[in-house]
Symmetry: C2
Subunit: 226 residues, 2 copies
């Protein structure tokens, strides 16, 4: 896959060696997290809020109530920034100064577009549902006309974006290597606990296939945490 | 503990029943996550970046290189917003529309102050280190004068902030309850994998006490994921 162009916004200023504009890496990180953090400016004030999202092709889809304040500001073409970070581990060094975290992050800059056309809107909402558990949109009832009307769907293009990641061990100064202090990495693992069936399920309802598949260890891939 | 005042910025607009200004809840969420997402405005553009942080009393401490662009913008008194979200589970409903996530989040608005005085700066950096593993700052070498000089430490007051959380089951419409579709909550659990000792450790170096304690199941508390 290709590289996204370097722009003043996507130049990685600190630790540029940890930065990347590789689209495959950017997509991989975006496809692993569940939440993005969307920033916008309202009356000069920066505001950042967490949001579910899904990437389809070169777009991030966001959704919410048609009365959602942030989505309405973005729908008017306000500049947006969406950030996703997977935290992979704590980096414990011999010096306080060299403590760090291992992570993979993406920052996307752009202006969102409203997805108004009904079939495109339905497809985006199905993709958002499938992001939680692949195949889930075919198990759950599709949106009614009124639900569709009550939902605002936006697409943020992934055209101006960068990834940044830190991996590997602590980077202590040479002078600190003789220290008796333990150093190392403490990796995070994320997993699902046992599903909690709804109290009002019809008797004998089997676990959804989408959820069963999600819980099969092999299907999950290397889930970082978010 | 008390409630923070309701301001135009901290009024929870969507699902106000999920919002809170209870300081104890706000602190509890802030003390559980490892990363916050800090937004600022640069030349009209919102930018949001992930940052390590620690809360001490009514302040969030941020730190980074003294050349860090965002920290320098914030050091000049630019309005900031810091958001923290713990993702607790996926909410799988009978309708696509009612799918959701369980989470606990905090949004803080304010302007940061530079912590320049050496002993306050050292204390903040030790607290940031201890946030990774309580007690770690006593095990690791304290910052040298030049490391201290190379680090910018900011404090963001937690005076204008709100929490928002979603808990509990899927909220399907009554008409959907007869659906044969499985519904429920899939909770996340976060844990640490086995520590990865540094390749250059002095032979026989025991695991740090701080890390050993962090890995003891009882000491960890209910870690959500971030």
């Amino acid at each position: 896959m290709s590289e996204l162009p370097l722009t003043p916004l996507t130049r990685v200023r600190r630790h540029p060696e940890r930065g990347s504009h590789d689209l495959e890496l950017i997509y991989r990180i975006l496809d692993e997290a569940y939440l993005c953090h969307v920033a916008f400016v309202y009356e000069g004030q920066p505001i950042v809020l967490p949001m579910a999202y899904v990437r389809v092709d070169d777009r991030l889809y966001l959704h919410g109530s048609s009365k959602n304040h942030m989505l309405n500001v973005l729908a008017q073409g306000a500049p947006a920034c969406a950030e996703v970070t997977l935290l992979d581990g704590l980096v414990l060094a011999r010096s306080q100064f060299s403590h760090s975290m291992n992570y993979r992050s993406v920052v996307v800059f752009g202006r969102a577009q409203v997805i108004a056309e009904a079939s495109a809107k339905r497809a985006a909402l199905a993709a958002l549902c499938d992001r939680l558990a692949p195949g889930r949109s075919r198990e759950a009832r599709a949106p009614s006309e009124s639900e569709l009307k009550a939902t605002l769907v936006l697409a943020l293009p992934v055209h101006e974006a960068s990834a940044k990641q830190r991996r590997g061990p602590a980077l202590d100064d040479d002078e600190d290597l003789s220290s008796p202090c333990w150093a190392g990495v403490l990796p995070f693992t994320q997993s699902f606990a046992a599903p909690e069936p709804d109290a009002q399920l019809q008797p004998g309802t089997p676990l959804a296939t989408s959820v069963r598949r999600l819980l099969e260890p092999r299907s999950r891939g290397a889930q970082g945490l978010e």
